[in-house]
Symmetry: C2
Subunit: 218 residues, 2 copies
């Protein structure tokens, strides 16, 4: 899981974009790329608390008024980085649910190892507590990520590794939860052992039927 890479034209719809024009691939996409890259670079140098729209404007060369119109707040920009990052996660497809879950857990651990990325999640969670708008973005961004990755559980159900009525989103949430608990609650660094245990615990629970809904699959 690498740093979010702003990428250009012919992108799919941007689910968490709060505002702005709809011209795809043109100036709008370039503006988004420049602003998100600038905010990302600034977060490597400073705490979230000292990040301002004006600093992002200076580094990106985009007018502060334009940034305010499209993202409203620094929290809006940060949430959009997270959203973009979610769009670029590769979904493992090794042919084995156990291996897919371990690959996903390792990619989450890798992502949250640099302090900058720990600050990113802290910033987004803090913003969500203070602003209903940011809370909605967080809810949507994490919902989208989980839904995208949950396809690996659907594939496992098709292969007969787990029951057909397994709730894939809950499997993915169970795998991801210990990372955020570690970062936000016990406030210790994530590591490879946490990744191994999270993946293995989610896998065992999934094959044992813990996440079955009791509803027949469509």
């Amino acid at each position: 899981m690498t740093a979010p890479q702003p990428h250009g034209s012919d992108r799919p719809a941007e689910p968490a974009r709060p505002h702005g024009s709809t011209r795809p691939g043109g100036r709008t996409a370039r503006t988004r790329a420049a602003v998100l890259a600038a905010a990302w670079e600034e977060l490597d140098r400073r705490d979230f608390a000292s990040l301002t729209i004006d600093l992002i404007a200076q580094r990106s060369g985009v007018h502060a008024a334009t940034i305010r119109r499209r993202w409203r707040t620094v929290e809006g920009v940060i949430s959009d980085i997270l959203s973009q990052h979610g769009e670029t996660i590769p979904v493992p497809d090794t042919g084995s649910l156990r291996q897919d879950l371990h690959a996903l857990a390792r990619s989450i651990a890798d992502f949250y190892t640099p302090p900058r990325n720990q600050r990113l999640v802290e910033a987004v969670v803090t913003a969500a507590v203070r602003e209903p708008g940011a809370a909605e973005v967080l809810h949507n961004v994490f919902g989208d990520r989980i839904r995208r990755v949950a396809v690996m559980v659907e594939r496992a159900a098709e292969r007969g590794e787990v029951a057909a009525d397994t709730d894939g989103e809950e499997v993915i949430a169970a795998l991801g939860a210990p990372f955020y608990y570690r970062l936000l609650m016990t406030r210790r660094p994530v590591d490879a052992e946490l990744a191994h245990r999270s993946a293995e615990a989610a896998y065992l629970a999934a094959v044992e039927g813990v996440f079955r809904t009791g509803r027949r699959a469509p």
Copy 2:
């Protein structure tokens, strides 16, 4: 798991008390009880963002200067509520690890069902991001809670339900993590199904040896 009940004399040491005198059971304990109860009541009426030391002073009848001297900030008061709550958690002891874990998960779900308690955890996590002092309190409070409850895994090891080198604190963290993920990341309410799944997943992983350290027990 009920609301934190300030209680009076002959209490054990207060691990997260930031400051203050050391006279146990006297005026100091009464002051703490009054201040924490007042903050708790205020949180039922307002958001954390609008809670101030002066409001707590008004409701508790304790001078604002006294509150500032002992807890420094609103975050300090909130963290102390959390600490006090942790001290009063009953540790289930049913004779079965599975039942103990389910009882614990239900008590966590019950605690985080009222919106006030959701706001409590949001407030503490937000404070920890902004203030190193609050982060240390959060780290210590959650560390203490986990260590206290992890004794149920030690008992299970003595009964032969899990391997002797099972890391009890990691079992408890695995059980608790999905609640905080739900509250802080996907921002949906916790419910009985989440409690059931979290307990069952932690139990299965524990008995399968996922949380073994590979070190011999002392």
